[in-house]
């Protein structure tokens, strides 16, 4: 494999991993509550800032900061589910509009608190280089990929075999039937929201040391995550993983033949073309948004 292709594949897998973390959270929340949370990107960004805060102000340990950031964002997720999304249950349009309002609130609160400039997070793993074939990559690149794969594996096991995981799957398949058999769906709602926002925080905390922490850092991962979800098939967890990775690798490889300025558009062109040909996505459950 030529070095340039290998380099872009690794880069693509890394950004794809971040998209996967965002997409997983959104797809879990969508599955259980039918909420499409457009504020997921700013929660990702908030995760990066909270991690930065713990890392630079409280503890010097990066791993601990990442975990603390996930915990804080899980609490934020629970608060949002309780305060905003639960009262709007069943009203798709208003939930989406409320999530757009949350983007403004959270993004600009972050600017008010931390300022508009990008912050640096000096984590040792960004300096350390790992040889891979003819190339050398920062350890953090590989860490992002490995941590994501581990989290995806753990999430699959959790959803497949644990009792709360089974309850989440049941609630997303048929909410009413889940209630009938005694699953506390409201508890499932906030658990899923907390899980989703914690995954977003993990994404922000992992990418922060590589590409700085700044107010708009969540925008691209959010829209690419959405593209990944649609590509994989709305409501499908494996689809979100495959879709997110695919978007990351395709857009990264596209830079070998196209100007990098249009890198961001490649993901959407691929998404729209595939959806027109195969509206249910790769692992499709729902067709073109019809419920």
């Amino acid at each position: 494999m030529p070095a340039a292709v290998l380099e872009q594949t690794i880069n693509g897998l890394m950004s794809g991993s971040v998209y996967v973390l965002v997409a997983l959270g959104m797809v879990l929340i969508y599955g259980v509550m039918h909420v499409l949370n457009f504020a997921h990107g700013v929660l990702f960004m908030l995760g990066g800032y909270v991690c930065h805060f713990f890392f630079t102000r409280v503890t010097g340990s990066y791993a601990l900061s990442v975990l603390l950031s996930m915990g804080v964002l899980a609490l934020v997720g629970i608060a949002l589910e309780r305060g905003v999304f639960r009262p709007l249950h069943g009203n798709l349009r208003n939930q989406v509009i409320a999530s757009l309002g949350l983007i403004l609130v959270i993004e600009n609160l972050v600017v008010a608190v931390w300022g508009p400039n990008a912050l640096q997070m000096k984590v040792p793993a960004t300096e350390q280089l790992v040889p891979l074939g003819a190339l050398r990559f920062p350890l953090q690149h590989l860490l992002v990929i490995l941590v994501t794969f581990a989290v995806v594996a753990a999430l699959f096991l959790f959803l497949k075999f644990s009792k709360p995981g089974t309850a989440i799957r049941a609630a997303s398949q048929d909410r009413l039937a889940a209630m009938v058999v005694g699953i506390p769906v409201e508890r499932i709602d906030w658990t899923t929201f907390a899980l989703g926002t914690a995954l977003a925080a993990l994404g922000g905390a992992l990418i922060g040391p590589l590409f700085l922490v700044f107010p708009l850092m969540g925008d691209a991962p959010m829209v690419k995550g959405l593209a990944g979800i649609l590509l994989g098939g709305m409501g499908s967890v494996p689809g979100a993983v495959i879709g997110g990775l695919l978007i990351g690798v395709v857009e990264s490889l596209s830079t070998l033949v196209l100007p990098t300025d249009y890198r961001d558009s490649v993901a959407f062109v691929v998404m729209v073309l595939i959806l027109l040909a195969r509206p249910q996505g790769i692992f499709g459950v729902r067709v073109r948004g019809e419920d």
Binding site: L36, I97, G101, L104, V105, L230, D261, S265, V272, L275
Partner: protein, 307 residues
């Protein structure tokens, strides 16, 4: 009663520059209110009446603005011809892109419109030869004089923006009170039932997407002609989201909604003189509260004459 009120308000708006002479700042803010209200009218037709939540609306305002800018600066076309062609370009691209987006529904539709909005923004931002790229498109002329009326002075530009906004509201009123508008509302309420009654849903939805985009184009052209420069950031995702917020805060599906929304979005923070990030915090919070407690927006809080 309502008609009289409307008439008084219109006369007042036209008389304002003479009444409040020597307050260019106020007139400046009102011009901005107008150029924000016009695209919001287009979106209100789509979102409020036809139920189509587009998250890429301002990109179509951008198509109109950049098309007119290229026609005026590079093709040396007059302002009014460029205005007409720019509006037509926005409408045509709305029809073409809308036809693709409308093959998807509800959440999918939103995501696909968002994707197209980002793609169009990327073109505006990167196609340096035509759009001048991220630095913006400088040297856009003010509207050509009509007879002896020149639009260089702020006060006269205000008259033009106000007239354009009123025209957009008049179009909205005509559409909403027509069979066409009633069909759109029927589609929003129950598309299957409307289709069963013989309504060509795709045709109606595509046409309102095109109409909304054309109106957005009008707003975009006036916006860049007022600022004398077109910048991609005027038409990015954040602005598209702001357009949704203006419509919803004002009251989606109400005739006066876009005007109230634009007034609150542009006017209130100018009045309060708060920093930009706090204005958006307040606006976002206001939006969430309205959606939670007053889903019909500000217009819904005003008691209507007929019950």
């Amino acid at each position: 009663m309502r008609k009289a009120l409307l008439l008084v308000a219109t006369v007042l708006l036209y008389a304002l520059p003479s009444l409040a002479a020597g307050t260019p700042y106020l007139i400046h803010v009102l011009v901005l209110c107008c150029v924000y209200a016009i695209p919001a009218v287009g979106l209100n037709l789509m979102l409020g009446y036809a139920g189509l939540v587009s998250l890429g609306h301002m990109a179509f305002a951008g198509i109109g603005a950049y098309a007119a800018a290229v026609l005026m600066v590079d093709a040396k076309l007059g302002f009014w011809a460029a205005l007409a062609l720019g509006v037509a370009a926005a409408g045509a691209s709305g029809a073409a892109i809308g036809a693709v987006c409308l093959r998807f529904r509800s959440h999918f539709f939103m995501i696909v419109t968002l994707a197209f909005g980002l793609m169009l923004y990327s073109v505006m931002n990167n196609w340096d030869d035509v759009t001048r790229g991220a630095q913006g498109f400088p040297g856009i002329p003010r509207p050509a004089p009509l007879g002896s009326l020149s639009f260089g002075p702020l006060q006269n530009f205000y008259y033009l923006a106000l007239t354009a906004a009123l025209a957009a509201f008049a179009v909205q009123w005509r559409v909403v009170r027509s069979d066409y508008g009633r069909t759109l509302m029927a589609l929003r309420q129950d598309e299957r039932l409307a289709a069963a009654r013989g309504v060509n849903a795709m045709l109606y939805k595509t046409s309102v997407f095109a109409l909304g985009s054309a109106i957005a184009g009008l707003g975009g052209i006036l916006h860049v002609s007022f600022l004398r420069v077109a910048a991609p950031a005027t038409f990015n995702l954040a602005e598209s989201i702001n357009a949704v917020l203006i419509v919803v805060v004002g009251g989606a599906g109400s005739l006066a909604g876009p005007a109230l929304g634009a007034l609150v979005f542009v006017g209130l923070p100018e009045y309060l003189r708060v920093a930009n990030e706090w204005r958006l915090v307040v606006f976002g919070a206001l939006l969430v509260l309205l959606v939670l407690f007053a889903p019909r927006g500000l217009a819904g809080l005003i008691p209507s004459g007929k019950k």
